[in-house]
């Protein structure tokens, strides 16, 4: 019975997620790209939110520059699986082939290898950024991460002429990134041999597996020695240090793990949209992911997933719908401003209000983590970290 209670909900949710595309094709004759595309993006954001949840929810560090790792992951895929570096020609297990059978210019590695490399690279960057900064106090750390979150996309923007070397192709970005795929599969599984732009099921299942792995890691981390160390550092760093926990190492682990998942998500996203450009990695994205974590419930895995689904769902489905409603009302009453207003343009107005209201009335989120809720409602003192840490 206890076993049932523990595993029933996750199993049901996983089965629903796995069967989702079947349900879709059951309802409609053809594959609905207009539905599958947003669903895949939502899933990418679930992964990002879970990555940020390790940093913000578990370790209590406010990271305002999470988009940097997302961008780094995407650029790693762009460098290692596209024709960008045409000076060289390296190919390994790739899906990219030329019709004439010649060597394809550029570095073309297998997506699966690149995915691992992207995770390792962003983890390394997380450690490099985190090592000197993590001893800072909470709000200073937030601003430093914000600084890095701005520096890295700007560097990509200006990186088309680094002493004559074109690293990032500037604002145009890197285009024509290779599709993932399993080239060794028989031809009967052509959709899986090389993921196509219209055949979205392989993409969906890939990111779903990636998210499930992320969730598994999150769940295991939560109850691990490291997870308990995060809680103690979050609540009182001095006391934790007195008990023999190294706060900097503990925080660094959170930062690096969060960065890794950000890198994975970025790598998948880069391959999925096939082009990366610096403008898609703005500060707004960092805040959007943060809002997912805050709205759903910091530190609660179900909550964070729900937050990502609700917010990206709002972005993709609800706001265009509201726009249609408002515009038709405007037309009916003859108000020009209402008839032409572009609601999705003001999405961050709505998200800003949500952020403020959540913090004012329910800082623990929709599905709270019990411990975090208690920390956030602790009125005895103003804490330093995201909850807890009463100052003397």
């Amino acid at each position: 019975m206890a076993l049932l209670r523990r595993y029933a909900l996750p199993v049901v949710l996983i089965v629903v997620a796995l069967l989702f595309p079947l349900w879709n094709s059951f309802l409609e004759e053809t594959v609905d790209v207009n539905l599958m595309y947003p669903v895949i993006v939502i899933t990418v954001y679930i992964m990002l939110a879970l990555g940020l949840n390790i940093v913000v929810g578990f370790a209590g560090l406010l990271d305002l520059g999470f988009v940097a790792f997302y961008a780094l992951g995407a650029y790693v895929v762009a460098w290692l699986a596209s024709g960008h570096f045409r000076q060289v020609s390296v190919a390994f297990g790739t899906t990219a082939t030329s019709i004439t059978g010649e060597e394809v210019p550029g570095i073309h590695l297998s997506f699966w290898l690149v995915l691992v490399l992207a995770g390792a690279f962003t983890a390394l960057c997380g450690v490099i950024i985190g090592a000197p900064t993590l001893r800072l106090r909470g709000d200073y750390l937030a601003i430093v991460t914000l600084g890095f979150g701005e520096i890295i996309p700007r560097f990509f923007q200006n990186g088309d002429d680094l002493g004559g070397f074109n690293l990032t192709n500037g604002t145009i970005g890197i285009k024509a990134i290779d599709s993932p795929g399993f080239p060794f599969l028989p031809d009967s599984l052509s959709a899986w041999q090389r993921f196509g732009t219209l055949e979205l099921y392989p993409w969906f299942y890939t990111i779903l597996v990636m998210v499930l792995v992320t969730i598994y890691v999150n769940v295991r981390l939560q109850d691990s020695r490291l997870g308990r160390a995060w809680i103690s550092v979050r609540e009182d760093e001095t006391a934790a240090a007195a008990m023999g926990i190294n706060p900097v190492t503990t925080k660094l682990w959170a930062y690096a793990l969060g960065a890794t998942f950000g890198g994975f998500a970025g790598a998948f996203y880069g391959a999925f949209i096939k082009n990366v450009f610096p403008t898609s990695f703005s500060f707004n994205v960092s805040i959007f992911i943060l809002l997912m974590v805050v709205l759903g419930g910091m530190g609660n895995i179900y909550g964070v997933i729900l937050g990502a689904i609700v917010l990206q769902g709002t972005n993709f489905f609800l706001l265009p719908q509201i726009k249609t409603w408002v515009n038709s009302i405007g037309e009916a009453v003859g108000n020009q401003a209402l008839a032409t207003v572009d609601i999705p343009k003001y999405s961050f107005f709505i998200f800003g209000i949500m952020l403020v209201l959540m913090m004012l009335f329910r800082p623990e989120g929709i599905i709270p983590n019990r411990q975090r809720a208690e920390e956030l409602h602790d009125e005895t003192g103003s804490g330093d970290a995201m909850g807890g840490a009463i100052r003397a």
């Binding site: 900064t133 709000d139 107005f349 209000i353 009125e379 330093d384 970290a385």
Partner: protein
Amino acid sequence: MATGEVTKGRSGGLLESARASSWQTRIAVAVTALLLVLLFVQAVRDPAQFFSQLVIGVTNGAIIALVALGYTLVYGIIELINFAHGDNFMIGSFVGLTVLAGTFAGIGLFSPITGDSGAFLKVVGVLLALVVAMAVCGFVNVAIERVAYKPLRNSPRLAVLITAIGMSFILQNLGLIWKGPAQVAFPELVSSANILPTDAVVFRWKDLFVLGMTVPLLLGLSYFVRNTRQGKAMRAVAQDKEAASMVGINVNRTISITFLLGGILAGASGVMFGLFNGITVFNVGFFQGLYAFTAAVLGGIGNLTGAVVGGFLIGIISSMADQYIGVEWTSIVIFSVLVLVLVFRPRGLLGDRSAVQGGGS
């Protein structure tokens, strides 16, 4: 003999302090010295260009310093990075623009003041724009504090920071709804003509205008914080809220007044930014705000003198980066300064002594 001993003692002390300083400090000093030498070489090579750029830097620095004071005042008193402050600055520039256009919400109040208007009308227009913007921004800042920050005064500090970020987005999008996504032009009311007789170094009327408006504001603020009863109350609250309330200081009112002061400075700064640069845009507050925050941190957050020094330094650094590194790298340079200062010297150049000492000494 005696002199020799003193000299020896001094040099010994210097050596000791050099030994005691960490490798980080030494590297920082070395890098700064190298950059200054490079800058000096450029200045010798083309002094006219260097000094013209320096003037622009100082003027921009004055605008940044006013915003930085808003960050530092608020941080000094409630230890909050008021993220919405930069967007309040943007609101200030929009209000100024609206006043100069003479219409509000479709109601024409007076004919727009443009570059062709008479000198008297221009002066009145600019002053009116400044006063209205200062009043509106002061009010907005107080309202934000009341609605969004006050209920969270006992919450974890980062919860308030998240609220401030939310408020920043709300203000930014209000600006977007108000004036649209494109850059909007300011009328050219202050002449861009060079005051100096030579063409070599450029010091325009605009520069004089900004500096001439900033100095009285800075002096006024300094007088207020040091010499008035309310300023004394502010310093007391910054030092210890509980003790301050025990001796009969109205803490809530004092915090509101601090936000009011910050808003007033941001409003003035916003209008001057628009008049100086000729344009403004809904998201100008994000970068200007971050530059100003960098200035506040560089000078030592909570330290009023520090914010002003930091503001001028950041203005000069950004204009030098514009000239000698490339405009597209300027924001990277400023953000790097922010990161480096926070990592290696989080208390800033002058130390974060909060508003307690009124800055300085």
